[in-house]
């Protein structure tokens, strides 16, 4: 009986981790930093008439980007999941179920959200005259860069956004060229229930850039990207590297993983080739992606050096 969770909630929860931009967004600006500007986001063309001064970000990645491109002082409020940087004005606002009245009461002049199932939030905000950018989970680095550039254009920080993208590209290129992980296998854990991410996901592409092979590929016939693996599979695959992206959410650690039945026979557990990632860094597509890539590269380096 009463096992009914609102289906919508579930759909939204999955969308939070699995959403993908269907069309690659493009930006068109008349003049550098000039307004009005029209941005081609996931929800279609969005016109921003003047430089926003009271931005509400309901996307943790959006929040990180806004502060990284020096638009932080234009941010009026961020959602309850936006925990970085520390200067972000955190509120009780939910990105999952945006409260339109609360956003309107903040006198927002630009809203950034991650998803909008059915387009209701955008329509409601539109009705009260607030432009909204829907920036769903990036499918790859180019997608992430595009979102940064769009936020730059939307906030009047085009140069800073371009600088951030160039810096990220440079850093990541540097890490990739200095890393030799060809052929090593890995397991990326999203939760103690053994959900993982395949190479088709944003995180998976970063690992692939560094030459790693994902043991979750092949477990995902539908191409959903986030299969639940069986413990038998993980143990028998004996991945060279284990990455835990469930340290904050779920309290997992190298020790707790080693204590799972049968897992202590894996070489990576025995040799300590197990990396405790910061869940947030490993699941967002903002400026700290560089830190994620660096963490992967460091693990590869430690393994090669061992």
């Amino acid at each position: 009986m009463t096992r009914t969770l609102p289906a919508l909630l579930v759909a939204l929860g999955l969308a939070a981790t699995a959403c993908a931009t269907s069309s690659s967004p493009e930006t068109s600006t008349e003049a550098s930093g000039g307004f009005p500007v029209t941005i081609e986001a996931a929800n279609g063309p969005v016109t921003i008439t003047e430089r926003p001064a009271r931005i509400v970000s309901l996307s943790p990645t959006g929040t990180e980007v806004l502060f990284a491109i020096e638009a932080g002082d234009q941010v009026a409020a961020v959602d309850d999941q936006s925990n970085y940087p520390a200067a972000a004005p955190v509120t009780d606002l939910s990105g999952l179920e945006p409260n339109i009245e609360a956003i309107a009461a903040l006198e927002a002049d630009l809203v950034v959200i991650m998803f909008d199932v059915g387009g209701e939030t955008v329509a409601a905000l539109d009705a009260v005259g607030i432009p909204t950018l829907v920036h769903p989970a990036a499918v790859d680095l180019d997608d992430a860069y595009t979102q940064i550039e769009q936020l730059g254009a939307a906030t009047g920080h085009i140069a800073e956004a371009a600088g951030l993208v160039a810096a990220m590209q440079g850093d990541i290129d540097g890490i990739v060229s200095g890393t030799e992980g060809a052929g090593d296998t890995y397991y990326h854990e999203l939760g103690p229930d053994l959900y993982s991410a395949t190479s088709a996901t944003f995180a998976g592409e970063l690992y692939a850039m560094l030459g790693l092979v994902n043991i979750a590929d092949g477990a995902d016939p539908d191409g959903f990207g986030y299969p639940q693996l069986s413990a038998e599979h993980i143990v028998s695959q004996n991945p060279d590297l284990v990455f835990l992206a469930d340290t904050k959410c779920c309290g997992e650690s190298a020790a707790s993983v080693a204590a799972r039945p049968g897992w202590d026979t894996m070489t990576a557990i025995q040799t300590g080739a197990i990396v405790e990632l910061d869940d947030d860094i490993a699941s967002r597509w903002g400026p700290r992606v560089v830190e994620f890539v660096a963490a992967i590269a460091a693990a590869i380096g430690a393994r090669v050096g061992a």
């Binding site: 009463t2 939204l12 999941q81 477990a219 069986s230 413990a231 038998e232 959410c249 039945p261």
Partner: protein, 347 residues
């Protein structure tokens, strides 16, 4: 004049059931994501016997897959299925309600709330017993206690239906609290949802040992009450005339069934449908006496869930399906087939 149908458990019915369970368990141990040589599995098992020392041919990781991952999963699947099926039969007998399942009095909602609290606020897994198991168990027991409190506070016209209605109210309330928490802690959504659908993905011997005492208590108490449940089936007034105290039987049997359900749900999540489909199938095929239904439900419940878990872990291998999806997806059509083939014997 009330005549009770003479009904007893034929020995070969039980032998058949045990045979089915043995076959199912053997297949479930033999098949998995990782192909293991059948002969090597047998050698490895013989090797574990005292005074036997033979080389299994399995390497260290294959050995771990067999002994630390696959075997406890099969055993736990059996225990969970046996308990849910037995508890379902016990609930149906106690409430004389064919639709009663072990989650009737709020176990599912209470366990769900406990699990949600644990997943959202107590993720530390360094404790000897996972907080999820403890809170899910406590939540299940607490919910049924609440149901009894509410049900017993009714002064006039109290029947077994009163208790069921109290269960509906308690479950609705606890589910509302759980849904609110999920809204607040959206990041836990997937994990909670996965738990609700049920899973034996990460279990080991630890969980088997944890629930074994509760399962044994439940089995003992409920089986002891099987004759009284038969008497109860003729109605409360008549049962009283035959020297049985219906509220007392109901309390003891339901309490025992609840303990076992709470324990297995705490480690496996909310696996639905087993408590309905297994006792009813047994009833349709073998007869309605609880002397038949309860013992056979234990064995067939175990076999059913072991098969369901085998499907859950091999159908989209090396990925996993939630076992609750499997029990409903394959169980419902199977049950419809059984219903069709029966000639209105059942309930």
């Amino acid at each position: 004049m009330i005549t009770l149908k003479p009904a007893r458990l034929e020995w070969w019915w039980m032998a058949l059931a045990l045979g089915v369970l043995a076959v199912v368990a053997t297949v479930a141990i033999g098949y998995g994501v990782v192909p293991l040589d059948a002969a090597a599995i047998v050698r490895s098992m013989l090797d574990r016997l005292p005074f036997v020392d033979i080389e299994s041919g399995l390497d260290e990781r294959q050995d771990a897959v067999l002994w630390a991952i696959r075997l406890p999963r099969v055993v736990l699947g059996g225990l969970v299925g046996a308990t849910l099926a037995l508890a379902g039969g016990a609930y149906q007998g106690s409430f004389r309600n064919p639709l009663a399942d072990p989650y009737l009095l709020g176990v599912a909602a209470g366990a769900g709330l406990g699990a949600t609290l644990a997943i959202a606020y107590l993720p530390a897994s360094s404790l000897p017993i996972s907080p999820l198991i403890v809170l899910a168990f406590a939540g299940a027991i607490g919910a049924v206690a609440m149901t009894y409190l509410v049900g017993n506070s009714v002064k006039a016209g109290r029947t077994s239906v009163t208790l069921i209605l109290a269960g509906v109210a308690v479950a609705a309330f606890l589910t509302a609290v759980q849904t609110y928490l999920l809204q607040r802690e959206a990041a836990t959504l997937r994990q909670v949802y996965g738990w609700i659908l049920g899973s034996l993905t990460t279990v080991g011997w630890h969980e088997v040992l944890l629930i074994l005492p509760w399962v044994i208590i439940t089995g003992g108490v409920v089986l002891t009450g099987r004759s009284r449940l038969d008497v109860l089936s003729v109605g409360d007034e008549e049962a009283r005339a035959l020297g049985v105290d219906p509220p007392r039987v109901r309390l003891v049997v339901v309490l025992a069934a609840t303990l076992g359900t709470a324990a297995v749900v705490a480690v496996s999540g909310l696996i639905g449908f087993v408590g309905i489909i297994v006792p009813h199938t047994v009833r349709i095929v073998f007869g309605t006496s609880y002397k038949v239904v309860l013992p056979l439900s234990i064995v067939y419940g175990a076999a059913f869930l072991i098969v369901a878990d085998l499907v859950a872990r091999t159908l989209i291998s090396p990925g996993e399906l939630p076992i609750g999806v499997v029990t409903a997806f394959f169980g419902a059509p199977f049950f419809a087939f059984v219903l069709r083939s029966s000639r209105g014997v059942g309930t």
